[in-house]
């Protein structure tokens, strides 16, 4: 069974304890930032910040709303990064987390380009740089613990559990309070589904979620890669065939030429 986490934006108070817990568990350094006019900090996720609460002020149903959403790796069911990775350093594990093996990575950054959520980040300031992203605390999960951010969340905005059960729980919450939530669980369908699931009081596109179809990002690349073996055999056979034909034609041409010469001699 595959684990997941449900984030309920109506329960989040924007305290950012999850950000701190994440930095502590992963031993990530602090970042120098400046006041950007919002409580949001640091301004962007980087190789040293795996998760971040976004703050959005907006008007919804004629009411002012201050909505939070937690950003981190979504741990896709069919991850673009894992499909893209040249050496298979990124892998979707059965338990849910998309893990990264820095013993394999060569630093090509294809995963960063291939991620539909723009999540994997790179250590641009290091001479020996690696890719960094949320690990879904695969190490803690292996020891039977919940992810650090879930453990620390004081309001129950984060629920960790079996993905299927979390979807049922999210559906129950929407059914109980249809006035409180938009009728959409983000992450059930998007790009083939993600381990992280979201409930929101406002449409997701208004708080910075990309609108994505249910087809995995890998689908066309998979088809192209499936065509490789037949193309390999086909092109090799075609070239050998053409070579044989051309040589044969040239030989026939030569023979014909010689015969004509002989005929001329006889004459």
């Amino acid at each position: 069974m595959s684990k997941g986490t449900l984030y309920d934006a109506t329960k989040c108070i924007g305290c950012r304890a999850c950000q701190v817990a994440c930095k502590q568990w992963n031993e990530l350094p602090a970042e120098k930032t400046t006041n950007s006019g919002t409580y949001e900090n640091p301004p962007k996720m980087t190789a040293y910040t795996f998760t971040k609460i976004n703050f959005t002020e907006l008007e919804h149903n004629g009411k002012f709303q201050w909505v939070f959403n937690k950003q981190q790796c979504m741990h896709c069911q069919e991850p673009g990064c894992a499909e893209a990775c040249i050496v298979g350093a990124l892998v979707k594990t059965e338990g849910g987390p998309v893990t990264y093996d820095e013993g394999k990575c060569i630093g090509c950054r294809y995963c960063m380009v291939a991620c539909p959520f723009g999540i994997p980040n790179f250590e641009w300031d290091k001479p020996l740089p690696w890719i960094r992203k949320c690990t879904f605390c695969a190490d803690r999960q292996g020891a039977g613990l919940k992810p650090a951010c879930v453990t620390t969340c004081p309001t129950g905005a984060l629920t960790f559990g079996e993905r299927d059960e979390l979807i049922a729980e999210a559906q129950r919450r929407i059914a109980e309070h249809p006035d409180k939530y938009v009728n959409h669980i983000y992450g059930v369908q998007e790009v083939g589904g993600t381990s992280w699931l979201y409930l929101s009081p406002v449409p997701f596109e208004e708080i910075g979620f990309p609108t994505l179809p249910s087809a995995p990002v890998t689908i066309n690349a998979e088809r192209a890669m499936a065509a490789v073996p037949p193309v390999l055999v086909g092109v090799a056979a075609a070239m050998a065939g053409i070579y044989w034909l051309v040589q044969r034609q040239q030989k026939i041409g030569q023979k014909a030429g010689e015969e004509e010469k002989q005929k001329e001699k006889v004459k």
Binding site: I106, P116, N220, E222, A224, M225
Partner: protein
């Protein structure tokens, strides 16, 4: 030969300076990281190097497999004299791609991991394996030029070795080598397009299509002869050995057919996807599409379809320049200009990014100059043609 002596010392001096200038950023990169020499960021992790060195570099080296195919498989002996220079520039092109990756990769010392940790689902894995193997194939295809010369030299140790043995071996496996080169090229030229299939939401729909691999292959085949025309015209100016106009116009004649097929596929694909309207509505990005198609595809098709232009060296040369321009713009479009960035980021290449690529091209030009001086490059095959 007089021209050679006059023009090259200053030329080689400038090239040498460019190579040294390119070494400085490389040192900084290994001390302070990629952020110190590039404007790459989490929002734009692939920049100038990937677009120019990898995407343009591989496509512009397509002259190697197209010409080898025409001469050795299709038996068109007329083009024998341009096959060797084409294979040399292709070989150098691929070496440049690999050298550029040694700067661009985060962990270049682990580049060999691609050989032991296989992810057969990754289009980049296919590109890596094909590029590595094809570079080896090109080295073997070019090696007779070196062996021939070594066998002529009357130098101490070298003359004791019978250089005709490796020559005979290479000649015996020449046809399998050429076929392998064509297969590998077909695969990785198209896989560079497959790589972009992973970005359905970031690559603009004017360029994103499931047939990208096929478009990549066709455009590479069309630029192969164009690059050969371009290079041989320039090497004629630098080294003499003028090519027969017959050869040039023959190469030029093939281009409109391939480009025509390419254009047809591009338009039909947009039509089928119901996105043809975007070429008018997707302002301003559609300007890049129009520039690429009008200057790089439609104009050369018209020009090279006219016998008068094909019979003029100038006409063939400038038409090829347009084809090359169109291809370069196309590769920049799909891998940079029309590829979305993460929100809140901007990108313009750092001068040190450009300096490294320039230094690599200067490296290649120096090696080409040395090859023309010390090996039989241009004059090779003329005897066969006669």
């Amino acid at each position: 030969m007089r021209q050679l002596r006059q023009s090259l010392p200053t030329g080689t001096f400038v090239l040498g300076c460019l190579v040294i200038l390119g070494l400085i950023p490389i040192v900084i990169r290994y001390l302070n990281g990629l952020g110190a020499i590039s404007n790459l960021s989490d929002g734009r992790p692939w920049g100038f190097w990937i677009s120019f060195d990898l995407y343009c570099g591989v496509a512009l080296a397509a002259g190697g497999f197209t010409l080898a195919g025409v001469v050795y498989i299709f038996g068109r002996e007329k083009y024998h004299s341009v096959a060797r220079p084409a294979i040399l520039t292709a070989f150098l092109g691929y070496l440049l791609v690999i050298l550029a990756l040694l700067v661009d990769l985060g962990q270049p010392w682990y580049i060999w991991h691609a050989m032991i940790y296989w992810n057969i689902h990754s289009p980049l894995f296919e590109v890596a394996i094909c590029v590595m193997t094809y570079t080896l194939v090109l080295a073997l295809e070019f090696s007779p030029a070196v062996f021939e010369r070594l066998s002529e030299l009357n130098l101490p140790v070298i003359r004791r070795f019978n250089w005709h043995i490796p020559l005979r071996i290479i000649r015996a496996i020449q046809i399998p080598l050429v076929i392998a080169g064509i297969v590998l090229s077909t695969l990785h030229q198209s896989s560079l397009g497959s790589m972009l299939l992973m970005m359905p939401h970031t690559l603009h729909p004017l360029w994103y299509t499931p047939v990208l691999p096929l478009l990549f292959l066709l455009s590479a085949i069309s630029v192969g002869p164009a690059m050969v025309i371009f290079e041989s015209t320039l090497s004629t100016r630098a080294f003499g050995h003028e090519l027969a106009i017959d050869v040039l116009s023959g190469l030029g004649r093939a281009i409109p057919y391939i480009l025509g097929l390419y254009l047809l596929l591009k338009l039909v694909d947009l039509l089928v996807a119901g996105e043809l309207g975007l070429i008018f509505t997707a302002y301003p990005i559609n300007l890049l599409w129009w520039t690429e198609v009008i200057i790089g595809v439609v104009t050369p098709i018209i020009l090279l379809s006219r016998p008068a232009i094909r019979q003029s060296r100038r006409g063939v040369f400038w038409s090829s320049v347009l084809v090359i321009f169109g291809l370069v713009l196309n590769r920049f479009n799909v891998s940079m200009l029309a590829l979305g960035m993460r929100p809140g980021f901007t990108y313009f290449p750092h001068w040190m990014e450009v300096a490294i690529s320039v230094a690599l091209v200067a490296d290649a030009l120096l090696v080409i100059w040395l090859s023309y001086r010390f090996l039989h490059i241009a004059e090779h095959g003329e005897a066969v043609a006669e």
